[in-house]
Assembly symmetry: C2
Homo-oligomer: 192 residues x 2
């Protein structure tokens, strides 16, 4: 998606450890116009898939997941990163390892919000090694629901998460795929 | 806001400790149509205030903050609940005590996203004792920005947060104000 790639080139900052910071428009300060457009783009690619719900993990995927859900006219759900006493006792949970934070956390969704009649589209901001999406896939499987696919804003194409998910036969849409990045240069994988 | 009050009466569940669960439409599963309407309602009440940005705290206020920011055509920012190595070194931070989780946490925003030319509208899902909003007010003050007001989905009118904030002279909009709630009955404060 050209407007996203341009924005990454203008404002993205690359830090050691393959960290790309896009906090000025994507995941701390949110450019609502851009995220709304990105949600519409994802929705247009999944509009014929019979999606019943959008699923994301808190926190930084919520705005894009919401924009996608708006465009498809379906509810969205976010999985929570640790148990809260505000959650139902009947939870679906899994464990996810975060490379960003170098720690493992529990991810939980109330069982009442996903069931076997659901066809879930996963939405997140970043895809690197794919751990967050793998965790959400496990939740969808535990709920006996179907996965319609996954969509992310930015895929780090030089890591293996995207390949792993595509190899599972899951339809994956990445609005921008980074081919390589250093502090001085950043290139994208050309997409159709 | 009548459609919100009706939804609370239909789906809200009251638990011991004055906990109101609205996870089926507001803060775990998100009814995108309802939240979009709520965002428009908040925007309509603040459209003449010259709001430059929406500020919320992760996690459960993000969807409503995003919908409000969309309707006003401004960016939104969410304060993060603990330090992340994905944040800028230059942070504005404060401490907030959560009654829900019975713990104190740090709340941080990158200094680059709020400055003295900003007129910030705070948006959150719940207002009880007002600690989250007080924390965000402190962040706005530290950044030398102005606060245009605050808006929440649900105010627990029987706790003192709303009074505290109104007494400070801050324009506060609560889409629903709960007068009293028990496991068997729930009443709202009548608003104009």
């Amino acid at each position: 998606m050209r407007i996203l790639e341009e924005r990454i080139l203008e404002e993205g900052q690359v830090y050691p450890g393959e960290v790309l910071k896009v906090g000025s428009f994507l995941n701390q300060q949110i450019d609502t116009g851009l995220i709304t457009e990105m949600g519409r783009e994802i929705a247009s690619k999944f509009k014929d898939e019979g999606v019943t719900k959008i699923l994301t993990i808190e926190t930084s995927g919520i705005a894009l997941a919401f924009a996608t859900a708006q465009a498809l006219g379906v509810p969205m759900i976010f999985a929570k990163k640790h148990k809260s006493n505000n959650l139902d006792p009947v939870l679906i949970s899994t464990k996810v390892f975060s490379y960003t934070h170098q720690s493992t956390y529990d991810v939980v969704v109330s069982r009442e919000f996903i069931n076997s009649s659901d066809n879930i589209l996963i939405v997140d901001d970043f895809l690197a090694k794919g751990n967050a999406i793998m965790g959400l896939l496990e939740i969808i499987e535990t709920a006996d629901a179907n996965c319609a696919g996954a969509a992310v804003a930015i895929e780090k194409g030089f890591q293996n998460g995207g390949k792993k998910i595509r190899d599972m036969g899951i339809k994956l849409l990445s609005l921008a795929i980074i081919e390589s990045m250093t502090e001085d240069s950043l290139t994208f994988v050309k997409q159709d």
